[in-house]
Symmetry: C2
Subunit: 523 residues, 2 copies
């Protein structure tokens, strides 16, 4: 094993993000170039810190990041190594991993559709699933905190992706709005730019640079009304009728609808326990020119898995080779409970193929639509031109107030509080489910997000369960079918844990149990 | 002249709007059916009031309404008559009026394009004019009120359509937001319906029923982000690629862009001193199936004229006969200074052909995007389905606060205040222009809106004037070309009066004068 020489240029300014991110990126670059290979040892943190002239904590942060992304592994007493899961240039060498992936993919719940064969047959299934989803339209506001019993006819949801708005610092928000109206009423009430107020664009650029490794200035940022508007603007701006866009076969339907409305022909790509199947995507791209791919790499929607490092790398390469864009939806970046959040694809995007969409709506409140797109300046300019005809501009009042809350660190404090609370709720729902439904559900604890993706025993009809829960127990359950491109049933449930206090979680699980259908005989 | 028998059924509930509107509508219905003809005398207000069993003021209000809309006329000592301008069933009888219209239309400034011939040649001209408009993108916030001199390099705009946000009750707004956050934080911060909060839908329905004669319940209303989003939603929902949509040949470009983005092929229809030329529209519809027409009947944009009663009626009939929809943009309904605002087309729409778009952004503040669509329930439902993929929903916090301000009458009080101020400013700008530029500009005082449409003397190059004003005097002027579908120049300026206090109006006119180009010799 040749010794590895550090070649990180830390003399440049801060514009490429914090030092630890630059160190991490330099290491992944070297892995990519083959200067570091699977199994190679990395220098100790003290050694590397001293040779780079940085604090040891900086190197520790870089290593933690690489560990979280799966690039490196550590073994007790032996030190830190480049992960054996890192891809070699020749895909064939990965037969072992590919076989494993196929094995996983063959399990119900993960899609095994051959994307090349599914071209053009998405409409009907989509409509079917949409009809099924229609009942889900009303997602209710939570009741106030309280100790009394929950009335049995109060509709509850165990759907995922719902933050607890009771945690939102509403008083701080009201004060920020009042301050903005006192100080800058004329500016925020007048016409403004469709890209959003400079204050919020700057705050977002700073935030994604500092915490997500995405080197952005304010002119790389467009403030949108939630990630949904970001996706819709991309669809309306970067698509021509008939363009093929690849999507996750289990995925986020409102994004699909926006892409379709923009003229896309959608093709599903299987998703397995490591995220979207990039080998399948590669086959698809070889068979059909594709214009873009829509992905949720951080916490795959709805399965909650994180895209494997090998796939991240290959996806970016593939996008460059085949000249398609990657629409990365990082809809709940902050809510990651095992170590730091994994950096987005956009942080490793040296070729400018990624359009990155994020949101504060999940962090703060779904009813406040504050999202953003980070992309190269010409893309932002084109999106802004489209935005002008959609609603001309955002709400400068609200957006400027949110910029203040970000600048003051109030949003970040709220995220830390919410993360602590959600981590507890994740553990609590997991143990409630194990205790009450251990024989029916099996799942791994998700490393992030707001939901558990649970397999349902094969002798339980999951869609019947969901229907009975709604009709008999006033409980919304989300079976896998709702997220399936082909509209077919799969024995999985997406169970949200973020929105419920303990007594609510207990009541929700009690209702789940009460609605459990009779199990099939002989199973 | 046969005596006219009143046949108004006032026994129905209030759902059709206030009594005076129902009386007015019954009379126009009878004119339409031929039971009342041009020149017929109407009963005196006392007589009619007594035979209907209503207060005389109610009949007076109905007559005032009909007078404002042009259906009836009054002569001293002789009483009230059906207006001679009301159309007879046979269009040919209107040769006199048509000739007059053609004469007016032949004047530069009003479009004389034959719409049937202009099919498909809008793209290039649109792009040209858009480029010209690009300089107009930044519309500045006004400076705070003050008495000091205005620095000569402070950019000012004499563009139209800009309300004075200094009049907005910002304190009331901040208090309403705080109240909503205290009382209903959970509801407004959670997911909601794409149609908007019920409170605001209900307030809008009440407002348009009470003051605009549009019988609407809350489920006829979708709250959109300004009229722009209403238009964009209609374009995305009600159009298929290649559908022909007729637009005013001098008109509102952002609406055109939204319609084009929805797939429309736009065809311009001439506009003259009585609004859109409905005879030309009729010829167009006979030659080409059209899917819809986009109009600004109340204060035609940009020429400020009100659509003549004969044309209102014919437009609605034509839409029914030819089965196209009428997208009515009533963007500044409240700002009407001569009597009451004219009721919208939607108020006389018995066949459900009108989709009505309004906004509070002009009334309150452009930076707060609060608009609405009023349409039959199935249309609202389809628009809401589209809205779901655009940005999922509006800002419930802001929208609920606005609903409170409407319910409390605060918005209405603001409208009354603003109207009084704008009426003064209209008169002031008119007299400043007459005093300083009387030899160059000629115009009629507009009965409503926020701008004067002024003809520029033929020996003054209007586009040169606008360019010089921007470059040498930091003043934005809007020449007719910016609003022209064909992108050609016309000797008119749209001059906004709403945004300027006296000293500002004086300074703006001073700058206009200073930028006036040398007049052509021999003119």
């Amino acid at each position: 094993m040749a010794s590895w020489n550090v070649t990180i240029d830390l003399t440049r300014g801060d514009e490429d993000g914090p030092t630890f991110v630059r160190i991490a990126r330099a290491i992944t670059d070297d892995i990519r170039r083959g200067r570091l290979r699977a199994g190679d040892a990395l220098p100790g943190t003290r050694t590397l810190a001293s040779s780079l002239g940085v604090h040891r904590n900086t190197v520790l942060a870089a290593y933690r990041e690489l560990f979280a992304e799966g690039w490196i592994a550590s073994e007790k007493a032996r030190g830190t190594f480049v992960s054996v899961e890192i891809p070699e240039p020749e895909p064939k060498r990965f037969s072992a991993r590919a076989a494993e992936a196929r094995e996983i993919a063959a399990r119900p719940g993960y899609d095994v559709v051959d994307p090349a064969r599914s071209l053009g047959r998405d409409r009907g299934a989509g409509a079917l699933a949409l009809a099924a989803e229609a009942r889900m339209r009303t997602v209710l506001a939570p009741p106030p905190r309280g100790r009394g019993a929950i009335a049995t006819d109060t509709l509850m949801t165990l759907g995922g992706g719902v933050p607890d708005v009771r945690l939102v610092p509403a008083g701080e928000l009201a004060r920020a709005i009042r301050r903005v109206l006192r100080r800058s009423a004329l500016a925020v009430l007048s016409y403004g730019d469709p890209e959003g107020p400079v204050a919020l664009r700057r705050a977002v650029a700073k935030m994604v640079s500092a915490t997500r490794g995405v080197a952005a200035r304010e002119d790389h940022v467009l403030v949108a009304r939630g990630s949904q508007m970001g996706i819709d603007l991309v669809a309306r701006t970067l698509l021509a009728p008939g363009d093929v866009v690849a999507v996750e076969a289990l995925g986020y339907r409102p994004a699909w609808e926006a892409l379709r409305a923009g003229g896309a022909r959608l093709v599903p790509v299987p998703v397995d326990a490591h995220g979207i199947d990039v080998v399948a995507l590669e086959r698809l791209a070889a068979a059909t020119p594709i214009r873009g791919v829509y992905v949720t790499p951080h916490h795959q929607f709805p399965t909650t898995t994180t895209l494997a490092p090998a796939r991240r790398l290959r996806l970016l390469e593939l996008a460059r080779e085949r000249r398609f864009w990657v629409l990365e939806d990082d809809y709940d970046h902050e809510f990651h409970y095992e170590g730091r959040p994994v950096l987005p694809l956009a942080s490793a995007d040296v070729h400018g193929v990624v359009v990155y969409v994020g949101t504060l709506s999940k962090v703060l409140a779904p009813g406040m639509r504050i999202g953003f797109v980070v992309a190269p300046v010409p893309v932002i300019e084109r999106l802004a031109a489209t935005r002008r005809i959609v609603d001309r501009q955002g709400d400068y009042l609200l957006e400027t107030a949110i910029a203040e809350l970000v600048e003051e660190g109030e949003v970040q404090r709220h995220v830390r509080r919410a993360k602590r609370v959600y981590a507890e709720r994740r553990a609590r729902l997991a143990s409630l489910l194990e205790a009450e439904l251990g024989g029916v559900l099996s799942f791994a604890l998700p490393s992030g997000g707001t939901a558990i993706w649970a397999r349902v025993a094969s002798d339980v009809a999951v869609d019947v369960w969901a229907a009975r829960a709604l009709e008999r127990a006033a409980l919304v359950l989300q079976p896998a079918r709702q997220f399936a491109f082909d509209g077919r049933s799969r024995p999985f449930l997406r169970l949200g844990f973020a929105q419920h206090e303990e007594r609510e979680a207990r009541e929700a699980v009690r209702r789940m149990v009460s609605a459990l259908p009779r199990r099939a005989a002989g199973a």
